[in-house]
């Protein structure tokens, strides 16, 4: 089976130790986390953890189901099966002689990246976008000499109006999803 990057959205109760629970679950089941991002949602009681895992569909399906077992977890969605907006951010410190600056700034322009710092021998470029775009930018800058690199985890939102929409026939829908309970009225999904 093919291995793919799957972003999984995990809405959790915003309480101490919850990230350790989620990350620990992946660690002890031997799932390799590719990236991880955490932040509050519009409801301060709820945080969204976006985990990107690489694995075959069975592995990812197991990860989703295991996550659902955690008491602190409110909702889990495998986002890989739906249209989505995906963003991560990278800060790249690249070697740049004064003569190379113009060239690098042109590259940055192509990627809609910002130049945050320039001095006599380096520049810091800030680029945001999906995984492929960030990796393309990094590849372009490699020949100049990357001195340091910092990346955030990817964050993902589905394009559909609510997360329930567009799920028919997707992914592991063959198992009746406990999240699909119409009684579940967590305000996160009540907006238009």
């Amino acid at each position: 089976m093919s291995e793919e990057y799957c972003p999984i959205s995990v809405l959790v109760r915003n309480e101490p130790g919850v990230l350790a629970r989620v990350a620990g679950l992946f660690a002890r089941r031997g799932f390799n986390i590719n990236s991880l991002a955490v932040g509050e949602t519009e409801d301060p009681q709820v945080s969204r953890i976006t985990v990107v895992v690489k694995g075959d569909p069975h592995t990812v399906d197991q990860a989703v189901k295991q996550l659902r077992r955690l008491v602190s977890v409110i909702k889990v969605r495998d986002q890989s099966t739906m249209p989505r907006v995906e963003r991560g951010l990278a800060l790249i410190k690249v070697r740049a002689t004064p003569a190379q600056r113009g060239e690098i700034m042109q590259l940055a322009g192509v990627f809609r990246a910002n130049v945050d710092h320039v001095d006599g021998h380096c520049m810091v470029i800030e680029v945001s976008g999906n995984r492929n775009k960030i990796e393309a930018m990094i590849d372009m800058l490699k020949p100049y000499g990357i001195m340091e690199l910092a990346r955030t985890g990817q964050i993902v939102l589905a394009r559909v109006r609510s997360i329930h929409q567009g799920m028919e026939g997707a992914g592991s829908a063959y198992v009746p999803d406990p999240d699909e309970d119409p009684q579940a009225t967590y305000n996160v999904y009540q907006q238009s």
């Binding site: 809405l11 959790v12 109760r13 101490p16 130790g17 350790a20 629970r21 620990g24 679950l25 002890r28 069975h58 399906d61 197991q62 189901k65 295991q66 659902r68 077992r69 955690l70 008491v71 602190s72 977890v73 409110i74 909702k75 063959y174 198992v175 009746p176 406990p178 309970d181 009684q183 579940a184 009225t185 967590y186």
Partner: protein, 582 residues
Amino acid sequence: MSSAAKAKNKPQAGTYNGADAVVDALRAQGVELIFGMVGGQIMPVYDALHRHHCFGHVLVGHEQGAAHMAEGYARATGKPGVIMTTSGPGATNLVTGLADAFMDSTPVVAITGQVASTLLGNDAFQEADMRGITMPITKHNYQVQNADDLPEIFAEAFYVALSGRPGPVLIDLPRDVAVSPCQPRQATPMPPTGYKPPFKPHPLQVERALSLMAQAQRPVIIAGGGVIHAGAHESLRKLAELTGFPVSTTLMGLGGLPADHPLSLGMPGMHGTGYANLAIYNADLLLVVGCRLDDRVTGNVAKFSPGSKVIHVDVDASEIGKNLECQVPIVGDAGQALAQLLAGAQAWPERPDTTAWRKQIDQWKKKYPMVYPKSDDVIAPQWAIQEVGKLLAPEDIVVTGVGQHQMFVAQYYPFRRPRTMISSGGLGTMGFGLPAAIGAQMGAPERQVVCFDGDGSFLMNIQELATAVRYRVPLVAVVLNNAWLGMVAQWQRMFYDRRMSQSETAAPPYDKVAQAFGALGKRVERPEEFVPAMQWALREAKAQKLPVVLDVMIEREAKVLPMVPPGGANAEFIPCQSGDCQ
């Protein structure tokens, strides 16, 4: 220490504080018995217990014993077992018991003391990060930050432990929270959270399952511990009888269908009956209920049941499809699912004809009977277990340790009722037997508890004999003593060319050990002595209200058979030695 700090640490009688809230919360949950051990950081709660004098408390010899007692209590009664210990070593000693409860889905609530919040993370005396340590082995855990949260935390903890797939929950209670003043009050109803254990099976999936069942020609039901947890044994029996589907019960599911029921196939898996394994291998339909199909059940998964369609009922969706591909998943309570399947099957215009299939199974039963070599000189453990089965009532409880004796019990004890078989299945915890038997006997005083143990396993928590004597627990422990770590020795004989590395024990005379603890003890060496000794033990345990230990010398090289070699296919089992006893 400043006088202000001193005052803060001193329990203030007369002011309602966190410890009182703990006691009230336990009372609100209807807790009747706590298994625990007092120590520094939990003392405020023990002080509150003393002031309120409203609970039974069992003071144990070792915290691991408390955990297994709580498990035994929970498994016998269906109510949550409650544990209370101090911080640090008191709490870490629970780890094995909590892991055991987690693997066997046993509802347990553990309350552990913790150093004061201000000292957390400082490596203070008797500090251990119990939240971190128990995260992978509890269903959920809490560290209380504020005494005002206690009613909600306790209400949620008990709900989580008991609902859905049951499991252990831990509440870590820093000392300052236990002594800080708060208001007495009842828990307000729980806020909506993500925790919504699925309960109702999806009707569409039930329909699909029924249509597969209607077409089945070689069906087998595999019933696991979930059937016992859900109290679904009656529906299981009725469904089996209505459809004629034979039933194999796993170690945790024993008692889900009476062992002497004509449709009973016994246990599947590594030490399962040959006919259960052959039936599953040749089946065209498996209805798996409340069973997680672990590797001891499936053996080599690819050759477990290659030609069958699988209907898998489990309250925990993550178990479905985890080990075995499944065509019809039913997420929900085993009781509801079986009741709905039963109702659906009752409406069938005609039932599948499984006569030929059952005839085939009867042939396998004849070909691969459960037999063992007979002897007039030494006690065969299988025989001893069968004899005890004749002496006990169907509702009496059998508890085991872990090892050969456990498998002999699973194979040869005639379990007839649910919640009569208590054993450590998933974790395989040696030392489980004696404390679990104490907990079971305390939870079900009207039923006789018999603990079968091995000499190696019994030694591991033997200190709890003191507990059993102190609380006058009238259990009977039958130590099947072969002076080996028997299961290890069996593997060494069968798969390690008889290199008996470190598997011979130097077991003390357990009858004398029992007597030294204040219990009754008797050594049994000859087959003709066994039944009278057992009758004496059952009689004296009741009459004197004391535990009785029978140190039973058994055949030293008895093997647990049938056996599927590790990693092998279940259908390629090593059959029972041709013998005479059945």
